[in-house]
């Protein structure tokens, strides 16, 4: 049984929580064993022909996600923190067609025991941008809020 929610906290991160009906060790393994990650990573009907995870601080992440129409979406990253079985921090970048990182997202996933189940909390924030935008962004941290999202949605409809 899974319950989930998406919200933005005061620090302007995107926060997603889920409760999995499984012990914490099992959930952590599903996140850190490449063979297991390849089975669930990505939207429905996506596969992961490449899934290399060097799960240790400084270790690399390389996943090639393949959509139902055959399009491959490459993604690279690096682990910042690995604390078994409670915490994973990684920086990941979506790559453009030329293989250059478009922007980076810092993702923190924590796993907490909750009556035999596991409460997983994911926090994500955009931390870095292309070099063109870098001077402009100096000293700034990008983020977004739910209110912003609502604002954007209402504008998109207008």
């Amino acid at each position: 049984m899974a319950t989930g929610s998406i919200m933005a906290n005061e620090e302007q991160e995107l926060v997603l929580t889920r409760v999995f009906d499984a012990p914490r060790e099992l959930v952590f393994k599903a996140w850190t064993d490449p063979k297991q990650v390849a089975q669930w990573w990505g939207p429905h009907r996506f596969t992961n022909p490449v899934c290399d995870l060097d799960v240790r601080p400084g270790g690399a992440i390389r996943i090639h996600m393949r959509g139902p129409d055959g399009t491959v979406y490459p993604m690279t990253g690096v682990y910042n923190e690995v604390v078994e079985p409670e915490r994973l921090v990684f920086t990941s970048a979506a790559l453009d067609a030329d293989g250059n990182p478009m922007f980076e997202v810092l993702t923190t996933v924590t796993f907490a025991e909750q009556n035999g189940k596991t409460k997983q909390t994911m926090r994500a924030r955009v931390i870095k941008t292309t070099t063109h935008a870098a001077p402009y962004l100096k000293g700034m941290e990008a983020g977004w809020t739910q209110s912003l999202e609502r604002l954007a949605e209402s504008l998109a409809k207008a």
Partner: protein, 120 residues
């Protein structure tokens, strides 16, 4: 999705004052003086925020020298909304699959587990 636009938009939106200004502009165009009214902030400070928003393509400003009304532009915000929606879909569906996966693994363990058979 153009990365530079998206990241510039994120940066412009990272400030609460600027988000408040945009929220105000959703209800209609306004002058700098009108936009400054709710904030304990000087006109030049508000103007600086407007410049950032303008640079990010989030607002446009009228030509009239004295009365330069600000208007909101939906394009870049839609890009952000699209990205957030994409991000949300990615993780929500991944976690649905993780949920299924964990259920399957535990079912298999239950079926084979009584003999304490650990496999390879």
């Amino acid at each position: 999705m153009t990365p530079d636009h998206l990241t510039t938009t994120f940066a412009a939106l990272s400030d609460p004052t600027r988000r408040a200004i945009l929220a105000r502009l959703v209800t209609g165009q306004a002058t700098v003086t009108e936009l400054a009214a709710p904030f304990a902030m000087s006109l030049p400070a508000v103007s600086r925020h407007l410049k950032v928003l303008e640079h990010a393509g989030l607002i446009t400003r009228g030509r009239e020298a004295q009365w330069r009304p600000c208007r909101i532009k939906a394009g870049p915000l839609k890009e952000v909304a699209d990205w957030v929606a994409h991000y949300r879909r990615f993780w929500t569906e991944s976690f649905d699959r993780l949920d299924d996966y964990l259920r399957d693994v535990q079912k298999k363990e239950k079926n084979h587990g009584h003999r304490k058979h650990h496999g390879k």
